[in-house]
């Protein structure tokens, strides 16, 4: 970090109009050296230092070689960052996919639960309807009527069958 501090000061001290070509050359050599040892945490800072340097570099023919070196280094640092960051995402993907898979399992279960509740609702609707019909028939039981009794028995039996709409569920 101390090296990057010094490098930053050195680049900040450069002036497009007043600094000599030797100062610019010295700075780019230092930046190149830092690029070889920079840690992942500091690569972004080094890129910023290089950006400052390149924006200060005079647009003169005798500086063109330095500009080419600086541009190549900047492009390489950018590409390295890009590759590294994509690789980081890739390195965690298996763990993320595993968690997403676990979540999908829970989603499946929740959806099954929701469907189960829909089935319960459907069963309840049918039971309600059947019971309403049974009530209506029971109302007619003021006189003993064999035919009505039989119908009532059949109806109650169908009420019992309502439970068949619920199928066994897996967890």
């Amino acid at each position: 970090m101390a090296d990057l501090d010094q490098l930053e000061q050195k680049v900040n001290a450069l002036d497009e109009n007043t600094s000599s070509i030797f100062s610019f050359k010295s700075a780019i050599r230092d930046i190149e050296a830092a690029a070889g040892t920079v840690t992942d945490q500091n690569v972004s800072r080094l890129r910023t230092i290089l950006k400052t340097y390149r924006l200060k570099l005079p647009d003169l023919p005798n500086f063109s070689r330095i500009e080419t070196d600086a541009r190549d280094l900047a492009d390489n640092l950018m590409l390295a960052t890009l590759a590294k960051r994509i690789a980081r995402i890739g390195a965690r993907n298996e763990a993320l996919a595993s968690l997403t898979g676990d979540l999908q399992t829970q989603i499946g279960k929740a959806n099954k639960d929701a469907n189960l509740l829909k089935q319960i609702k459907s069963g309840v609707d049918k039971a309600t309807k059947t019971v309403d019909e049974a009530k209506s028939l029971v109302d007619q039981l003021t006189v003993t009527n064999t035919s009505t009794k039989n119908k009532l028995k059949a109806l109650i039996q169908s009420l019992a069958n309502v439970s068949s709409v619920f199928e066994p569920q897996e967890d």
Partner: protein, 521 residues
């Protein structure tokens, strides 16, 4: 069958009602579902924009060499493959809340309907209590109870939320103080904090990389047959490892290394939200690196236009500043004459003459030629200007006021006026030259402005896109935190039977969309 006995056989049905009544404690999560979908849509936009940025850069032949563009195209493919699990996890978050919402809605309806059926069945039982065939209804109730019991024990809403909590939010651990003791809240309960903090991102990434590299190495070395490769294809990573181990392609030590790395990843207890945040953090760095690179390369390509414009602007400013200083000098000379003509106080006249000297020194600093011309003119005036030569040559400083005053006291009014007459003549000539230069610079600026504006617009566009994407990714990270917070609140709401508020998440989502669609803000 007695009435009491008959009712007692309906007890299970009453239990069902009790179970369903607990369903009415499920909070309304439709707004959470809606806001979550908007959040994930915004995050998908961020990942898509990052892809667009790499694609744009890979097509900019004016900014990058062929080799760099080729590498960017490879990176683009890697990015597209690498980001797929993140997009899948965002889809899963949506699907999860949609399923919970469907469950909550179904719960609500079931509760309403179950009340209705119990009322009806009770009425029926009352009506037919004298009959002996009511056992059929009891069978129905028993069937329902079995089903409901199954649901209650393993499928209820709360359990779904709690089971998913660790997957989506990540694990919580007891907070400990510096001495390692558990920190308690005001109610004496342990304060819980997220386990996935600090070095989690680096550690998980490092272990993930270790597994990936080791696995790739094993596959390269294994020389698997076509049949073996096809066998592995549909398997999960864990199954693949076991199969490779069974085939003798993976050593025990390698298997152990992978298991250790997996344990390391698991030990942090990071959830889906944490992983998405890690990835967004990487997207931020990709955006920064690529946008800065495009900006700097575009600036360098247009250095001539930018530099020329800047130089003309700076030179014209210098000319205008000198013209202003000349005008001020002439104005001061007039004021001194006026004061002397109207019997002004000697102190005021002296003060103004000192200011005049400072003005002249400033002009000399700005224009070396002018100094030479003035010095020559005063020298040409000779004795008739007296010590005006000293007035011109002497450089003012903080401590030299007495000396300057002494010089001024030794210059007569006639000498002062004559000397300034010479100086003003030189200044007037200089002003004409500067005026011409000013006109030329302004013409140059006018001529170069269209191309300069085009360059500045391009640079601004790169910068604006970078800032917008950065802000979108920042807001996405913050929204993900709020999402986890809202999910944690959902668990609390289920326990406390309080409604779930999603105002904070709504605000974060609005923030995301005001960045994506600022015109709708």
């Amino acid at each position: 069958m007695t009435k009491v006995k008959l009712y007692s056989r309906f007890a299970p049905l009453i239990l069902i009602v009790a179970m369903f009544c607990s369903a009415c404690d499920v909070p309304d999560i439709s707004e959470f579902t809606k806001q979550s979908a908007e959040m994930t849509r915004g995050i998908r936009k961020g990942s898509k924009d990052t892809e667009g940025l790499i694609k744009t850069a890979s097509a900019r032949a004016d900014l990058y060499s062929a080799a760099t563009r080729a590498k960017l195209k490879t990176d683009l493919k890697d990015y597209q493959n690498g980001i797929k699990p993140t997009v899948a996890s965002l889809d899963a978050l949506d699907a999860y809340l949609e399923a919970l919402n469907a469950l909550a809605q179904a719960n609500k309806k079931s509760e309403e309907n179950s009340s209705a059926v119990v009322a009806s069945v009770t009425n029926l039982v009352t009506a037919i209590s004298g009959l002996t065939f009511a056992s059929s209804a009891v069978n129905v109730a028993t069937g329902l109870l079995t089903l409901a019991e199954e649901f209650r024990t393993s499928r209820d809403f709360k359990k779904r939320v709690n089971l998913a909590a660790e997957i989506v939010e990540g694990r919580y651990v007891e907070k400990r103080n510096a001495a390692g003791q558990i920190v308690l809240d005001a109610k004496g309960k342990p304060v819980m904090v997220k386990a996935c903090t600090g070095q989690a991102e680096e550690s998980v990434t490092r272990s993930g990389k270790e597994i990936k590299e080791l696995f790739a190495d094993i596959l390269t070395r294994a020389h698997l047959t076509e049949i073996q490769l096809n066998t592995l294809k549909p398997m999960t990573p864990g199954e693949k490892r076991n199969q490779l181990r069974a085939w003798g392609k993976m050593t025990g030590a390698e298997h152990q290394t992978i298991r250790t790395a997996e344990s390391e990843i698991a030990s942090w207890g990071c959830g889906v939200i944490d992983f998405i945040k890690f990835n967004i953090n990487d997207l931020k760095e990709i955006n920064l690196a690529l946008s800065e690179s495009m900006f700097t390369n575009a600036s360098r390509n247009n250095k001539t236009v930018l530099g020329f414009y800047k130089s003309i602007e700076a030179s014209d400013k210098r000319v205008q500043r000198e013209l202003e200083a000349i005008l001020n000098y002439e104005g001061l000379v007039s004021l001194i004459r006026e004061l002397e003509a109207t019997d002004g106080s000697p102190e005021a006249i002296e003060e103004m003459k000192l200011r005049l000297k400072t003005q002249l020194d400033a002009l000399f600093i700005m224009d070396g030629d002018l100094r030479n011309s003035v010095t020559r003119a005063i020298a040409g005036c000779g004795q008739s200007c007296g010590r005006m030569r000293w007035f011109v040559d002497y450089v003012m400083c903080d401590e030299c006021k007495p000396h300057m005053v002494a010089i001024l006291n030794n210059i007569s009014k006639a000498q002062f006026d004559r000397g300034n007459g010479f100086i003003e003549e030189v200044l007037a000539k200089r002003a004409v030259v500067l005026d011409d230069r000013n006109v030329k610079f302004l013409d140059d600026l006018k001529r170069i402005t269209p191309s300069h504006s085009a360059v500045v617009s391009e640079l601004d566009a790169i910068q604006d896109k970078q800032n917008d994407l950065d802000a979108l990714l920042d807001s996405s990270m913050s929204a993900l935190d709020t999402w986890a917070e809202t999910h944690a609140n959902l668990r609390v709401a289920l326990n406390t039977r309080k409604p779930l508020t999603v105002a904070k998440l709504t605000s974060k989502v609005r923030e995301i969309w005001s960045i994506i669609e600022p015109e709708k803000k």
